[in-house]
């Protein structure tokens, strides 16, 4: 009897420890997803315009799943210590539902990374940057976001200034190639926002224009966020799997 008492206590201890970890990870997941949702890098208008806000959906689900995990972990701890069959059954079922939601969030975040190729952004930029339709608000958003992006990160286009030469665009429709081989935001600007050397910029003399593409500056932070939401969610789910199996075993051993 004493031996199985020890086993019981060890199992209880493990389950309590497992639930504590789940609770803390739930809080961490909520914090991470709130950070992702709060759009710290300003590239989200571009993502919204491509109708690809998977990362947003995944992060919102993550916030609620994190809070649910925290609440359920407390329920689990109480259930294990009191060895209550009903409490633990409720805990297991609710945890399975949360598992399914977190699974969806994790897969969505992982899928987002696959669908954000440079071509999608390139096409959107060419078709909507400086599109002179004052009624279309999202086009203005795209233009403003791109201008900010190019000025702050000292970059031009998605792959480089040659984007504007290799493809026709809404920008090219209103700005002649001779005067604007690429937008003014691609030029090195002085403190007042005017090109330091306009002829140098139009010629493409290095030092007077931005020769890098913006894809790295843009996709880097967003991909890191997507990676974080996807893989942290996956890790939490693997741990939850073990705790749930242990809880089911414990539940089956409780006297009725």
């Amino acid at each position: 009897m004493a031996k199985s008492d020890d086993c019981v206590h060890i199992l209880q201890g493990l389950l309590v420890f497992g639930n504590v970890v789940i609770g803390m990870c739930g809080i961490a997941l909520t914090a991470e997803c709130i950070y992702v949702v709060s759009n710290p890098h300003g590239a989200y208008p571009l993502l919204k315009a491509t109708e690809n806000s998977d990362i947003h959906a995944a992060a919102w689900i993550g916030i609620f799943v994190g809070l649910a995990l925290f609440a359920l972990s407390i329920l689990g701890i109480i259930g294990v210590i009191k060895a209550s069959r009903t409490l633990l059954l409720v805990y297991i079922i609710l945890m399975l539902i949360t598992f399914a939601f977190e699974m969806a969030s994790s897969i969505t975040a992982a899928t987002h990374q696959d669908s954000q190729t440079p071509n999608v952004l390139l096409k959107q930029m060419l078709e909507r940057y400086q599109k002179s339709d004052p009624n279309n608000n999202s086009d203005n958003e795209v233009t403003k976001t791109w201008d900010e992006l190019m000025r702050q990160n000292h970059c031009c286009g998605v792959n480089g200034p040659s984007d504007w030469q290799n493809y026709t665009s809404a920008f090219r429709d209103t700005h002649s190639d001779a005067d604007y081989p690429w937008p003014r935001a691609c030029c090195v600007l002085d403190a007042e926002g005017l090109p330091v050397n306009l002829d140098g910029c139009k010629l493409g003399v290095s030092g007077y224009y931005n020769s890098n593409g913006c894809y790295d500056a843009m996709s880097g932070p967003v991909n890191t966020h997507a990676w974080g939401v996807a893989w942290f969610g996956f890790a939490i789910l693997c741990w939850t799997f073990c705790v749930l199996l242990g809880t089911m075993f414990y539940w089956s051993g409780i006297e009725y």
Partner: protein, 223 residues
Amino acid sequence: RPALTLEQLEGVTTASTFVLDQPRCTFKDYGNAVIWLVVALDKEISNFNNSAGPGTPETAFQSFPGSVSAYMTLNATLDSYPCPKPAGDITVLRVGSETSCAKDASRPTCNGPLPGPGPYRVKFLALEGSVPVAETVWSKSITLRTAKSPSSIPTAGSGHSAGMIAITAILSILLAILLAALVATLVFCGSDSCGSSTFSKPESVTVRRYNTHHVYDQPAARL
């Protein structure tokens, strides 16, 4: 020989402009001459006559390439092209940079943007008054950039990465195992058939203490 500049510039050729090296140290003995740039379509260079005057309707930019086979522009004296070229200076001529006079017939020597991708050939011609005194050979063929339509950009999904497939597969398996385990536990243990001897709940500890109380009572009763 006139040629596209060898400098590393992003805009050596664009859709309507191109950049040539200046003709430094080419026209050394013609201090009084005015040096003109002649631009013609590749297939029409044989139609150009050196005696054609600049600024006339026969060489006006605005009528190029329709009724004019070659136009003359970018005139400069030899002083603008001092020889030798100072090291480190970027000495280029941008053909096609003047957009303000492109449609202005009163400016036939306008350096306007080229109307198509070409191919073009250019040469420099030195005129003293209206007499041609020196010229370079025609350059090699210069073709400008053509822009494609953005709808030609392929945006089909690039397929699923290994990471995403791994996450989906592993999580689906885990969820399936959990559901199976839950069903098995409920079916197997739903009717109180397990848990009788494995371990007991905390309340049974107090029951045992109650029994001990009785045991202590017995010897007292016997006496």
